[in-house]
């Protein structure tokens, strides 16, 4: 199908504004990893991801499992663009009773397929969804997004091994390779090295891309979508905080809300 790259880039820009605004309003949240991931999420929903906005619980929908659940504003901003969330939903992010919980939660939000928040679990969950789809002889595809810091969790590699062992071709992973985790840069905390080589050695097909080039994002998603014989890993090289100058590549904005002045600067830069 034809994909309008310009349109996707515009959507991503709108999402970035909402990400920054909702975190500012909440006074808490994770802007860095949301801004690094958003082009990938917009790219995924902009291709042939199968879902129905009028029936978000459609059992045969594709699944998007956001394992790095702290980047919830990225997911909420996308669901807002799709019409699954309204302004009040995203305005009440992190507040008592809000549809938009601090970390994405399938119990609270239509359109969210996984309850995340504890890193390392989403790929395993995706395997379960993918095996169920195969047992049902369904064509549905399962997409999992993890952060690069998340690969420090051993469960990721338990799952990587299982996906190869069971030849799970309807499962794809997108790794948001922004090189920063909670406390500092990964090469200070625990460098993982060449993630693509590691997935490759576990039997996965691997593609490395610039995660902010929408042409490359869409092309990689189509590549993974077309490969139904083995699990595919897209290693997306990204910039933490992408789009807001003072957040870019800055570990201190992993989990910090912008203040009023910072919000004004960010909105100016994103307009």
């Amino acid at each position: 199908m034809g994909v309008n790259i310009k349109e996707l880039e515009n959507t991503a820009r709108n999402c970035r504004k909402n990400i920054v605004q909702m975190i500012h309003k909440a006074g808490a949240g994770h802007p860095g990893g949301s801004l690094s991931a958003i082009d990938l999420i917009v790219g995924l929903y902009g291709t042939d991801f199968r879902f129905d906005v009028n029936n978000p619980n459609w059992s045969d929908r594709d699944r998007f499992i956001m394992s790095k659940g702290h980047a919830s504003p990225a997911v909420y901003s996308m669901l807002f663009e799709l019409g699954l969330l309204d302004q009040n939903d995203i305005d009440t992010f992190r507040q008592l009773g809000s549809t938009c919980q601090g970390h994405v939660d399938m119990k609270w939000t239509d359109g969210v397929d996984f309850s995340a928040g504890s890193l390392g679990m989403g790929l395993s969950f995706g395997i379960g969804c993918a095996l169920a789809a195969r047992m049902d002889q369904s064509q549905r595809k399962i997409w999992v997004m993890i952060g690069d810091g998340e690969t420090q969790e051993g469960q990721i590699w338990e799952a990587a091994m299982a996906a190869d062992h069971h030849k799970i071709g309807n499962l794809n992973i997108i790794v948001d390779r922004n090189r920063i985790q909670n406390d500092d840069f990964m090469d200070v905390q625990m460098e993982i090295g060449n993630i693509g080589n590691k997935f490759s050695s576990f039997g996965w097909a691997v593609k490395e891309i610039n995660g902010h080039d929408m042409h490359e994002v869409v092309s990689a998603i189509n590549w993974a979508s077309d490969n139904n014989t083995e699990p595919c890993a897209i290693i997306a090289h990204t910039v933490k905080g992408k789009g807001v100058s003072f957040m870019e590549n800055n570990p201190s904005f992993h989990g910090k809300a912008p203040d009023d002045n910072e919000l004004a600067i960010a909105m100016e830069e994103l307009s």
Partner: protein, 315 residues
């Protein structure tokens, strides 16, 4: 002799139930290398297409099960009780928190497992799982009750953790009496008005032996198989307390947090009564033949009799 040659092990009942549940095509079985021990191998042999081997990787298994549950399957995931604990947070955050109905079975629970030693003897599983919302916690006493309760999980609305035991014990139930069991309802298997012994798992048989011995001394005990630790059958305890003034709990588990903990919480809040707890007294187990180990740790029929005599003096 570590266990009688007649009777049944609760892990066998679990395996038999999986086979019977296979008629429902939603049922899938997940293994972490120990299917021959947990008895999920019975399902695997007949239904390999619905059995998923995850290798020695319990954390992954729990979330794979959660993903399958989110996609309309009814997963039964099993390993040793002690190794389920390795995935405690996965069970908490990945299964119970989103309300995904996964049925977990931990076999070889308690010191009854015997000669493998303390690393294999889970004595805290019932306690830790009891703290998780949306999780039913069970520990059946023999093969027939394990089979019956596992069958009922097919239509159970919550995720569950069931502890089974490795070794055979004399049966508490027969093919007819077992049909009266219901998840969440304690089963009164003997009536007496002097004391109520509330037991679970392999300690139900020990409680029955103790009650018979006590009867010879004129002490009449009620014995309850409290196979469901959560939700605890508080109504039954309330009813017993109308006529019985003191209680003893008996479990192959730490005295902290398990059945004894659950019953004491209920009694303290609803019908305060003297209580003695028979269980593993805040220590780890060790290697030994089951019968020797039960004597050494202090969880056999004699321990229960002593606890009864002690609690009667506290009335």
């Amino acid at each position: 002799m570590s266990a009688p040659s007649t009777g049944g092990a609760s892990r066998d009942g679990y395996g038999n139930a999986l086979l019977r549940l296979a008629d429902d095509k939603r049922v899938v079985v997940l293994e972490a290398d120990l299917g021959k021990s947990t008895k999920s191998c019975l399902f695997r042999d007949d239904h390999p297409e619905r059995t998923v081997s995850l290798g020695i990787a319990e954390q992954n298994m729990m979330l794979v099960a959660a993903g399958m549950a989110s996609s309309g399957k009814v997963p039964f995931a099993s390993t040793f009780a002690i190794f389920t604990e390795r995935a405690f947070e996965q069970i908490r955050n990945g299964i119970a928190r989103p309300g995904l109905v996964v049925h977990i079975c931990g076999s070889h629970g308690g010191i009854h497992t015997g000669t493998d030693g303390s690393s294999a003897q889970s004595i805290e599983d019932l306690g830790i799982y009891r703290t998780i919302p949306n999780l039913t916690v069970m520990h059946p006493c023999d093969d027939l009750s394990s089979e019956e309760l596992t069958m009922q999980l097919l239509n159970h609305c919550n995720a569950s953790y069931t502890r089974t035991a490795r070794n055979k014990v004399p049966r508490t139930y027969d093919n007819d009496s077992v049909k009266s069991l219901k998840i969440g309802q304690g089963s009164v298997i003997r009536k007496g008005n002097d004391v109520a012994i509330i037991a679970c798992g392999i300690m139900v048989n020990e409680a029955s032996i103790a009650a018979s011995n006590l009867a010879e001394d004129g002490i009449n005990a009620t014995v309850v198989d409290m196979h469901t630790i959560k939700p605890l059958d508080g109504d039954l305890i309330n009813k017993l307390s109308e006529n019985i003034e003191c209680f003893v709990t008996a479990e192959d588990h730490s005295v902290i947090g398990g059945l004894g903990g659950a019953v004491s919480e209920h009694l303290a809040k609803n019908c305060p009564s003297p209580l003695e707890m028979v269980g593993v007294n805040d220590r780890f187990g060790e290697s030994g033949e089951t019968k020797d180990l039960m004597l050494h740790i202090g969880i056999n029929s004699v321990s229960i009799e002593n606890a009864v005599r002690k609690v009667l003096k506290r009335k």
